[in-house]
């Protein structure tokens, strides 16, 4: 049995943020996550680093929090934030009154909202609806949740923080009114273990209630399901928000080469079901088409769903996006803190407040430093220049920012072994060296893990080419446990399929036919063997 000071349950933005914060304060912390990092809400979200403008009217406190955290994250999270800025666009027929309230709300929260001349707006975003009547510019940005979690961990590791993925907490061990450990289960092998600790932080997102219930404590986190659509192209360079009271399908966020439209909002009993439905997709498309008239012509890559961990009495959108830190010593149990609710934009603040509580209990005096220090260093200029010839156009900048500390070794590999330069994923420009680097991470077990670290398989062909290549290369380098690689390929294609199935028309049905021609007709991955 291992033993640490604090165990954090949950490897989303909140959990990894707490891991980083505590580690930076010198607290020996281990994070456990039942799947891969960012495999839930923090990877199944919209990717909008809110300026707060969205909440300017409905939730002024959130708005203020957002703009403050937004500024901090742009600074410390340079490599996971794309400073796109955002537009708020009022269309013909959208209430003018709301615009007035919104402008006032922004001003009150100190969110810089500046009116943009319509002609200028169209020049900047030529695909935007002709029905736009007012446009404002706000400091919205795009943020990559996978990278955010990874970079939090990378930073935490420098301070001694540790992570175990595919490790599920199954119980809280107590001695009297004190927490003494967590029971865990290896979700890949089923092996059960326990980890001793002085304090447990419950950062299980939508499952916070479930974890707390093991200690006999009720925390009423209400999962709120949201569906998003990823499009094949970046048809907007800015975050586009509809300037009206928040509703379904009125935000577009560009991420690298793609654009994400979202979202819906519906309270659900369980956050475990993350398969999107056709009806949800159609609703989003319907609403989104008001902002981008050509939307039906744009190719959808896939749809995905996540659950917001809402914590408050109300339901759905009316509920606050705010967070609450619950020190359960008030419930009679010492050594358990739950971080409930929140949104990704304010994850750092939420982590800070949680760590404050934990440190107070542990008697640690160190103050929070997460806002002061960048999560990962910029790669040295000279290294970037040296690396340029090894990457395809655009590949270098993508790799430099997603690799963090691994960039140096990857470049080294590319320089010494030219065959490592081959693109395993031609849609997202991911080289073999990067795939191998991700595969060597002790927390990597399958192609999905590699995907979340590299974006492999997230582009146009949705895994049609890269899954064979990645597995082939990994098998050759003995980097996978699977004995013949087939299961890895199949599992990867099946998880991609979950998101394609609800958008199975237009070009995606063509791509699906093509994928099956490759993996079923040519490679017979589906059929039983002879004899």
């Amino acid at each position: 049995m291992d033993s640490v000071t604090v165990v954090v349950i949950g490897g989303g933005a909140t959990g990894t943020g707490i891991l980083r914060d505590l580690s930076m304060r010198g607290v020996k912390t281990l994070l456990i996550e039942r799947g891969d990092l960012a495999s839930d809400a923090s990877g199944r979200f919209h990717g909008l680093l809110h300026s707060g403008a969205r909440y300017a009217v409905t939730d002024p406190r959130s708005a203020k929090e957002c703009i403050e955290e937004n500024a901090i994250l742009r600074r410390i999270g340079k490599h996971c934030v794309e400073k796109t800025e955002g537009f708020f666009v009022r269309l013909e027929g959208d209430g003018e009154d709301y615009e007035g309230q919104w402008v006032a709300g922004c001003a009150a929260a100190r969110i810089h909202a500046k009116r943009v001349d319509l002609k200028e707006a169209r020049r900047l975003e030529p695909h935007l609806s002709r029905r736009a009547v007012s446009v404002f510019r706000v400091p919205d940005s795009a943020i990559d949740g996978f990278r955010l979690c990874w970079q939090n961990v990378a930073s935490a590791r420098r301070y001694g923080g540790e992570v175990r993925t595919y490790t599920e907490a199954t119980g809280i061990e107590r001695a009297g009114d004190r927490v003494v450990g967590v029971t865990v289960c290896d979700t890949l092998t089923g092996a059960v273990d326990s980890i001793g600790c002085d304090h447990v932080v419950n950062a299980a997102g939508s499952w916070v209630g479930r974890v707390a219930s093991w200690a006999g404590i009720e925390v009423d986190v209400k999962p709120d399901r949201g569906v998003l659509i990823a499009f094949n192209h970046r048809f907007t360079n800015r975050v586009i928000n509809r300037l009206r009271p928040p509703a379904n399908g009125d935000i577009f966020v560009p991420h690298g080469p793609i654009t994400v439209l979202g979202t819906t909002s519906s309270p659900v009993a369980s956050a475990d079901d993350n398969v999107p439905h056709v009806e949800e997709v159609l609703e989003l498309l319907h609403n989104g088409t008001e902002l981008f008239e050509d939307l039906p012509k744009y190719r959808i890559l896939r749809a995905y769903a996540g659950a917001r961990p809402l914590y408050s009495p109300g339901e759905g959108r009316a509920a606050s996006r705010d967070f609450t830190i619950l020190d359960h010593s008030t419930d009679g149990l010492r050594g358990l803190t739950s971080a409930a609710g929140g949104k990704l934009t304010s994850y750092r603040l939420m982590a800070e407040k949680t760590a404050d509580v934990v440190c107070r209990e542990l008697g640690v005096k160190a103050a929070c430093r997460t806002a002061a220090e960048p999560m990962v260093e910029d790669p040295p200029r000279r290294l970037v220049t040296r690396a340029r010839p090894f990457f395809p156009p655009y590949g270098l900048d993508l790799a430099a920012s997603r690799l963090g500390a691994a960039f140096g070794p990857v470049v080294q590999g590319l320089q010494m072994h030219p065959e490592e330069r081959r693109l395993i994923c031609e849609c997202e420009m991911v080289t073999l060296a990067e795939v191998e680097s991700a595969a060597r991470e002790p927390t990597t077990f399958n192609l999905g893990d590699i995907r979340r670290r590299t974006r492999m398989g997230m582009g146009t062909c949705q895994g049609a080419f890269c899954s064979l290549r990645a597995v082939g290369a990994l098998v050759s380098h003995d980097l996978v446990a699977d004995k013949d690689g087939k299961a890895l390929i199949r599992d990867f294609l099946e998880t991609r399929w979950k998101g394609i199935r609800p958008v199975l028309w237009g070009d995606q049905i063509r791509e699906a036919e093509f994928q099956r021609e490759v993996y079923a007709a040519t490679l017979n991955l589906d059929g039983t063997a002879q004899r």
């Binding site: 056709v278 030219p418 081959r422 050759s476 690689g485 087939k486 028309w505 049905i509 059929g527 002879q530």
Partner: protein
């Protein structure tokens, strides 16, 4: 455009075979194609029927076709035409200097790039797997940098095949290619050159011995002949077997090139890069089809029309939300009412995918029918993947259906 007997719409395998069969009967044929068909990047093995509906392997494809439902394309074409079609196909390849071998009577299992075996029937000689079954050991040749073939992956899979050797060795050949990534086509082009062949043989000889069975990616030249194969066999006295794999799988490209030149020889006129957008119809007959090239419409009159436009991949079928259509003639394509019934929860579910079976219903003369089973046009025939009632990827029958229905239509047209 000048009038002709037959317009074939589509330049995939089914269209090419249909054009060849019609031209063989001295019809004046025009073949119109928007782009190349699946065969140009596919593996070129002619799968006939690998699995029955329940997922059980089919040992004797031709014999077991009798059990297929009546709406299956093979059933529509009929047993006699099916057998004749394969004869015709073999003859075409023979005449083109690239003879295929095999028969539809027995399934043959070929090794793939992920180390599985795939049931098929007709193969170029370079893909014949027989020597592997007889061997005690085999060698897998890889090429440095080649990104779609990994010997280790292939070996791990093949080791599990009971009838196969248990000992495999790897030989890596370095084609010394700089610049962009290496695919099978690059290697095949390298082996098209004499210096490439020599360098490759020399390197292989360091790891193979006379009499070895040698598995290689599909790289034995781009040209539809056995020149490279024979030179390799002669220089090494080994048996070579090309493995099927990812696009671009050069084995299909060879067959494509062969068929194109064969139909040209038979006087078929080919119109490339033109999309047929609609038909001119008169009283239950189609009198002409209209293409849209880069600029404007053009009319192509003919006496008969063969629709060989493929499935969703090639645009022979198009799907919107909850509906699918055939874009040239506007023929009906039946689909389940609810979009969620279009597909299975798993992509590779081990069963047929509903959407893969979408397509055109036809009568016994391969003419698309309306809801009541009546031919919509008396002189329009549909062939290949555009037909309904089969999931070629699941049952492993894509190229087989294309050959059989293409041939059949070619013999039916007036």
């Amino acid at each position: 455009m000048s009038a002709c007997d037959v317009v074939v719409i589509g330049g995939g395998l089914s269209g090419l075979v249909a054009a060849a069969a019609a031209a063989e009967r001295d019809k004046k044929v025009v073949l119109i194609a928007k782009g190349v068909g699946a065969i140009a990047v596919g593996s070129g093995s002619i799968d006939v029927l690998g699995y029955e509906a329940g997922g059980k392997p089919v040992a004797r494809p031709l014999a077991e076709m009798g059990k297929l439902p009546s709406n299956h394309p093979y059933a529509r074409a009929g047993k006699q035409a099916t057998a004749k079609a394969f004869e015709f196909f073999l003859d075409l390849c023979e005449k083109g200097g690239f003879p295929y071998s095999g028969s539809a009577d027995v399934a043959r299992w070929v090794p793939t790039a992920i180390g599985t075996l795939k049931p098929t029937c007709f193969l170029p000689r370079s893909m014949d797997p027989a020597p592997l079954e007889a061997a005690k050991a085999a060698v897998v040749v890889g090429f440095r940098g080649l990104k779609d073939y990994y010997p280790e992956l292939i070996i791990r899979g093949l080791m599990q095949v009971p009838a196969y050797p248990k000992r495999f060795r790897t030989v890596i050949v370095d084609p010394e290619m700089a610049g962009r990534d290496v695919n099978a086509l690059d290697i095949a082009r390298w082996l098209d050159t004499e210096s490439g062949r020599h360098a490759c043989i020399e390197q292989m000889l360091t790891g193979i011995a006379p009499g070895n069975v040698v598995l290689v990616p599909p790289v034995l030249g781009t040209v539809p002949n056995y020149g490279v194969l024979e030179e390799f066999e002669k220089a090494t006295t080994c048996k070579f077997i090309e493995i099927t794999g990812m696009p671009p799988a050069i084995t299909g490209l060879r067959l494509y090139d062969l068929l194109v030149s064969e139909i040209k020889k038979r006087g078929v006129r080919i119109v490339e890069h033109a999309t047929v957008t609609r038909a001119v119809v008169d009283n239950g007959r189609c009198t002409a089809v209209v293409t849209h090239g880069v600029d404007r419409e053009r009319t192509h009159p003919a006496r008969s029309f063969i629709l060989a436009t493929g499935g969703f991949y090639s645009g022979g079928l198009e799907a919107g939300v909850g509906s699918a259509r055939e874009p040239v003639f506007g023929l009906p394509v039946k689909v389940p009412e609810s979009q969620s019934d279009w597909s299975n929860a798993f992509l590779l579910s081990g069963g047929a995918q509903p959407f893969a079976r979408f397509g055109l219903d036809v009568d016994a003369r391969l003419r698309p029918t309306d809801g009541s089973g009546k031919a919509v046009f008396e002189n329009v025939y549909a062939v290949g993947r555009t037909l309904s009632g089969f999931d070629d990827a699941f049952e492993k029958s894509g190229n087989g259906v294309a050959v059989v229905t293409g041939y059949r239509a070619g013999t039916l047209v007036a």
